[in-house]
Point group: C2
Chain length 503, copies 2
Amino acid sequence: MMDERWNEKIPNWTAKRAFLTPDRTAVIFHDEKITFRQLFQEAKKTAEKLFRLGCGSGKKAAVLLKNRPESLYLLAALQLCGTVTVFLNHRLTPGELLFQLKDSGADLLVADETFREKCEAIRTELSALNIVYLRELDGLEGKPDPLKEEFALDDVCSVMYTSGTTGFPKGVLQTYGNHWWSAVGSVINLGLDPEDAWALAVPLFHISGFSIFIRSLIYGIPVVLYEKFEPERINRDLREGKISIISLVPQMLSALIEGLGDGTYHERLRCVLLGGGPAPVRLLQICKEKGIPVYQTYGLTETCSQIVTLAPEDSLEKIGSAGKPLFPNQLRIVSPDDPETDLASKQIGEIAVKGPVVMKGYYRREESNAKSFLPGGWFLTGDLGYVDEEGFLYVVDRRADLIISGGENIYPAEIENVLLSHPSVQEACVVGVDDEKWGQVPFAFYVRKKGCEVGREELEQYCRKHLASYKVPKGWEEVDRLPRNAANKLMRRELKKLAKELR
Amino acid sequence: MMDERWNEKIPNWTAKRAFLTPDRTAVIFHDEKITFRQLFQEAKKTAEKLFRLGCGSGKKAAVLLKNRPESLYLLAALQLCGTVTVFLNHRLTPGELLFQLKDSGADLLVADETFREKCEAIRTELSALNIVYLRELDGLEGKPDPLKEEFALDDVCSVMYTSGTTGFPKGVLQTYGNHWWSAVGSVINLGLDPEDAWALAVPLFHISGFSIFIRSLIYGIPVVLYEKFEPERINRDLREGKISIISLVPQMLSALIEGLGDGTYHERLRCVLLGGGPAPVRLLQICKEKGIPVYQTYGLTETCSQIVTLAPEDSLEKIGSAGKPLFPNQLRIVSPDDPETDLASKQIGEIAVKGPVVMKGYYRREESNAKSFLPGGWFLTGDLGYVDEEGFLYVVDRRADLIISGGENIYPAEIENVLLSHPSVQEACVVGVDDEKWGQVPFAFYVRKKGCEVGREELEQYCRKHLASYKVPKGWEEVDRLPRNAANKLMRRELKKLAKELR
């Protein structure tokens, strides 16, 4: 019999893909085309430099990267070293980054030169951390340690931080197996044409971006890489037929459609994968009228991207639905009061998911893990939704308090924590309000401490120092006290209504 | 953290597919179209009748089936019951079937009425076995036990028998995970179009046939089912564009090409997956000239179908090669004398494979398992081959003595055992000789016992009684003694040469 679990190991996917189809295009960046052979060679070269810096199995490297080919080489290189990648959002402040660097126990930080200022601020605070700029790697002499030729499916590949109700970000442990099954679940739903090309215009440090790179390696199709969201360039490429699949959030799709005017896209575009929060029905209608194949999807950092996605035959008929759970995955709607109880169709409850894409857990968060997982491997997402009679999921609301702004998740508790740390603030509550450009933006209510003076300008500046700018409230209201119910529970929905009126 | 291994379970694929895409076509049989909803409903009905017969988890049911829709319902039903399927080759004699029924410990035999004679012969010998004909199921009242909603990847799904050098068939334990990864490895190589349709004209009891049904469930595409190999009907369907992928063995492809004459196939045909032994280069050349996309593949019952297959871009350029190991799998060429030693490219050695498609092991064959598996999960196939500088596999010879006749594997030892059981035979050796129609056929050399008289007619009749007809030697030669080397080892290659001359 087999002496190990049959399913324990698969080949390193960068090496395997370069072996299988070396001459296919792996990355298209502006007018540059990089083959899988080149990608592997560059990744190998980079891996040898990382070995020199002490990378290897059991190590963790944090990365602060732009959407550039060099970043992809680095990500593949870390896997070739057997080193875990800790993804950092480059929009965060040095203080926010510091928390994640300490929490993850990263051994190294590899950063794009663009972020030198933030990195040097981090260096001051965390002198023990080895910080290396991508460009500095060029000068290093490689150390040809043996490359990681196989991935154990249960090993952690990457860590991405997500906040929660406590406001303290938690590291999501994503295994090689999670990423693998995510790619496989997607291909069974969307199909695969060897001529496919998947546009990556979302941030690489989010699961939506990183998962496109992994699919490219597993499927053997190119990533069409964009340094940032450039609607004109992307619209041109979509019109010229350079892209067959593109991952977008509603605000991006909206901007593209606006830029498109009366035009249409090339028939090669076969899927607009739309995630990152609820999409306006009007936008979906326009796309339907224009024949743009939009597939809504529901995914989380904790599920390594898509877990529920519309199928081809339903993409135009089931507008507003995120679809059905992808082949390897399962879905239940449970009572928020008693997660062991399933709700009937059309009843709104908490979305619980199960499957091989569900993360291993939050890193060193025993309490959160205990709360998030039900027996049998079910993960409680905290999001609200219902299924119709046919089993299509409709996401009603992300976790009660979550604000999704231009595809970024904002957890009110994180902003509230910062406000409460200000010496003049007694109480604070942050809610999301609708915004034409960003979908939602945060709006802050605060109560001054007795005898203290503080204005919104000062609080805004204070936030800007401690929070990534997209998290800084775009609206402010001082109140005498926050509305609470009899059980002294904060009535966020009341404040949401109020914020809407004030906006 | 997750309380179970993340990758332990996936949804029952018949139920899941019916849930995801109920209205897609699952089976096309003659002019009948069966949707996934219907397939699931029929399978569920059948499962409830099987429960009545005592099926359930931990049970094993042997099946003797024709390529018909009812057979597919039964196979899906057994999975819904959590019952292991033991596939029987209906070309075997009652004696051969009896061995497999006893060896597997089957609790039940479900058979097509067509095989009543064989089944009644079995009933006489094995009265304890419950034998049910498919048609009898109709009259049974169902028992609505809970259906198996999830498959544990490590659980055994099916058992298929394969002989070996000892001549005694061994049961290959194929897990749900093996089948799953096989379908996934194939889709990453061949791609997937929701409009695909895969023709099943090979026997359902072979892994080549059963794996098409499983892919249909996982991919959500129809099986175009043929009761038997009907070249005219298949050629018509290929010309009319009813088929996009077809699995064939060389003799079938040859017959189709002959029937095609000067015609061509519909452009919808995008892949002829050619397995089951070496293909004549001439045949591959003709296909290339005709623009027929032939993908050679190398697979075994022990690897749940394909493990090495040509990629789209190489199918026309690498004629004669079986390709590279599919994404999740790995390949080595090792020294037949010392399997721990890898050979350089272009050197012929034993083919060793690894990956999640490799069987769990042979059922109750400790010795064979110990011999077949190397540390690290490598499986020794017993076949000979080499890889070129780019890593393409060329299969030189199946296990030294294996005869492949019309896609069926024939193990000489099995025929030799039968011959040696004849009272007048002293020694016997069976080799394969080339045959225009079947690829190869068995040829027997025998030595009479002193003082005994026996002719080839009598031996042929004797074989026909104990062996499936395709195993009965098509050529005979009485010799005074068998050629042996100094170590007394039988020199099979000498006899192969001799048989070729005699033929």
